[in-house]
């Protein structure tokens, strides 16, 4: 076996435990150490998981959204990793270079987090779509790849082609008109949106709003990274 990230040979000691447990290591120790899991003990925004001071329960961004828009379409976001330099490199390789296999690196963690927060609640899993242009450019949708780690997904949204989010400022992101359209009229009640990165939450909220308008009642999100 080779590390899925650095290709070095994985040295697995055969013990009784490894014989009986089906858990397979796919990433070497030194690559695994580079991941920084979000510290759930730390005080963070109850909606989006941003680390904040103890006096408040919601971060400035989430408060601003509610004040500007009246209601917040997003009930709660759960993220798993922080966006450190190593993660940035890895995401660049996964998303922009298109190294699809890397999604397996996060399989264990994503399914565990899903089990812990969302399992048993009859959620419909909806990955944030790419525009058709972007999809044909990349060959796959990274959000869908992540969502499929959890289980069957439903494609309920269509995305118009627009400029890359990462090239916009925060204000520009909040102002942009909604790039999403719903494919259906009667959306399921509980939706779990899945995306790779939570930055300002605008994308997820825009997608959530569209689904609320077509009948959904509550929108949650699971994102791999909280930047």
């Amino acid at each position: 076996m080779h590390c899925l990230i650095c290709f070095n040979t994985l040295h697995e000691d055969t013990t009784w435990a490894t014989l009986f447990e089906s858990k397979e290591e796919i990433v070497c120790e030194s690559c695994n150490e580079k991941f920084e899991r979000l510290d759930l003990e730390k005080h963070h925004c109850q909606r989006c998981m941003k680390p904040i001071s103890h006096e408040v329960n919601l971060c400035g961004d989430c408060v601003a959204w509610r004040e500007r828009m009246g209601i917040d379409p997003l009930s709660r976001n759960i993220s798993i990793y922080s966006y450190n330099e190593d993660m940035k490199d890895l995401m660049a390789r996964f998303k922009y270079r298109g190294d699809y296999e890397l999604v397996k690196v996060w399989e264990q963690e994503v399914t565990q987090i899903y089990q812990h927060y969302f399992a048993g609640n009859d959620f419909t899993i909806v990955p944030i779509p790419l525009s058709e242009e972007r999809l044909s450019e990349r060959g796959f949708n990274q959000a869908e790849a992540i969502a499929q780690l959890i289980g069957p997904t439903q494609s309920l949204l269509i995305r118009k082609h627009s400029e890359k989010q990462s090239k916009k400022t925060k204000l520009e992101r909040m102002r942009t008109s909604n790039p999403f359209r719903s494919k259906i009229r009667n959306a399921p009640r509980h939706i779990l949106l899945v995306d790779d990165i939570y930055t300002t939450g605008t994308t997820l909220r825009q997608a959530g709003q569209v689904l609320l308008n077509s009948g959904a009642q509550q929108i949650f999100s699971l994102t791999l990274i909280r930047s």
């Binding site: 080779h2 290709f7 390789r93 270079r97 298109g98 190294d99 699809y100 296999e101 450019e137 060959g139 796959f140 790849a145």
Partner: protein, 442 residues
């Protein structure tokens, strides 16, 4: 559609669709100006990446719909079963010949001149040549007349080397001495373009992007890691050369395969046993240290090393260590003397600071063993008996010392626990070359 501009961008390369101008892609195909090659080839049960020659299963991945792609060269853009490569079929792009492009005013030694003449001859006859020259022989200057002659004929030249640091050191020197030519320095994170370049200075890895591009390829440090270990790199160099080409290998320490070819006269060889300043190579001193590795890992600085550093008396020095871990331990023992290794984040800056004499000592892994010149330094190898220090590495490391004509001597010390063949052979190499040089002088 300006065919000449397109040719200057596309000719001699293996390109992905996204590297071609999207707005004229269909026209390029319809007019037969580009040829498609499948990205992944499956033949006789063997899968091969047509860009990086990978055949190892661990480097192939699968995308949705079970499409196979190559993960090995993915940082150059993805090659897959549905993402082919393209090369230019139109008229080839000629570079503009420039007369007397070299501005270097120095003079070659008789030995350098001998090598230089052989290089010119090799370029003329489009044949092969090995220059086996000791460290500090002045290899770069030996190339100048050959490069000048090639540029005057409008030939395309590539200097390829396995080491990024060598590219970064060579490029500014060549640009200073050939100020009127077009050139590009290509390595992992450089952003330069080679459109219309007379001279490309690149890591051997970057040559994976080329196909029948160069009339002259000079492979500097041909025995260095990873070139001699990674079979795809010699293949890349071969593919990057035009069918009719001159190939020149440079090294101080040829590996067995080249040595055999040279001994059998399968490749013409010029041997240069003397440094350009005429002084002998510094002979390494061996210093035994009991339990050297354990002492360092226990955060103890062996006395012998302490004494050696004390005796530098203000001279700058490099300390070579076999592992990053040892670099880290040694750094802590020496008041946080900075250390560099392949992936260290500030590698480029630290090397520059050492070059600028802002820091007086640097701990390094074998990344600085070759191709870099710092005047007036001493070197020590800590744990010289470690297996990463093979003969070639030890010879190259010793060659970092005494490089400058105004300060042609320097100290080289190997600290060790158990004497190895590599250490003994490295010392013998030095003595032999010095003897040859002496005979030549007579």
């Amino acid at each position: 559609m300006n065919l000449e501009t397109l040719a200057s961008q596309y000719d001699g390369k293996l390109l992905l669709k996204q590297e071609l101008d999207d707005s004229i892609f269909n026209e390029l195909v319809n007019k037969g100006l580009i040829q498609k090659v499948s990205g992944i080839q499956k033949r006789l049960g063997l899968t091969t990446c047509q860009r990086c020659f990978n055949q190892e299963n661990k480097y192939f991945g699968k995308m949705p719909m079970d499409i196979i792609y190559c993960r090995r060269c993915i940082m150059m853009g993805r090659v897959s079963e549905v993402e082919p490569l393209y090369y230019w079929l139109g008229d080839s792009h000629g570079v503009e010949p420039i007369e007397k492009a070299c501005q270097w005013k120095g003079e070659l030694t008789p030995l350098q001149q001998k090598a230089s003449d052989a290089i010119i001859d090799t370029i003329e006859r489009k044949s092969r040549l090995l220059i086996n020259a000791v460290c500090g022989a002045g290899k770069t200057e030996m190339l100048y007349e050959g490069i000048e002659a090639a540029i005057a004929q409008g030939l395309k030249i590539c200097i390829a080397t396995p080491r990024t640091d060598v590219v970064r050191e060579l490029a500014p020197r060549l640009r200073r001495d050939f100020p009127r030519i077009q050139s590009a320095a290509l390595y992992g994170d450089s952003t330069e373009l080679d459109h219309g370049a007379h001279l490309v200075i690149a890591t051997t890895h970057q040559l994976l992007r080329y196909r029948q591009a160069f009339d002259v390829i000079i492979v500097d440090e041909v025995d260095a890691f990873p070139y001699h270990k990674d079979k795809s790199l010699p293949q890349a160099v071969k593919r990057a050369a035009k069918p009719e080409h001159a190939m020149i290998y440079l090294t101080a320490t040829p590996r067995t395969d080249l040595k055999i070819k040279s001994a059998l006269h399968l490749i013409q060889t010029v041997s240069i046993p003397m440094r350009f300043h005429g002084h002998p190579l510094p002979v390494p001193t061996f210093k035994y240290v009991r339990k050297l590795e354990n002492q360092l890992l226990d955060q103890k600085l062996p006395q012998a090393i302490q004494r050696w550093i004390y005796n530098r008396n203000g001279r700058r020095y490099l300390l070579f260590v076999p592992t990053i871990e040892m670099a880290h331990h040694l750094s802590r023992l020496l008041n946080n003397t900075p250390y560099v290794f392949a992936e260290s984040p500030n590698r480029k800056e630290l090397i520059q600071q050492f070059r600028n004499k802002n820091i007086s000592a640097l701990i390094t892994t074998t990344i600085l063993e070759r191709g870099v010149t710092f005047p007036s330094i001493d070197v020590a190898v800590i744990k010289a008996d470690h297996h990463v220090f093979d003969v070639a590495a030890l010879v190259q490391i010793s060659g970092r010392s005494g490089r400058s004509a105004t300060d042609p001597t320097g100290d080289v010390t190997f600290f060790y626990e158990t004497k190895t063949n590599a250490m003994v052979q490295a010392k013998q190499y030095t003595l032999k070359k010095n003897k040859e040089a002496k005979e030549y002088m007579r």
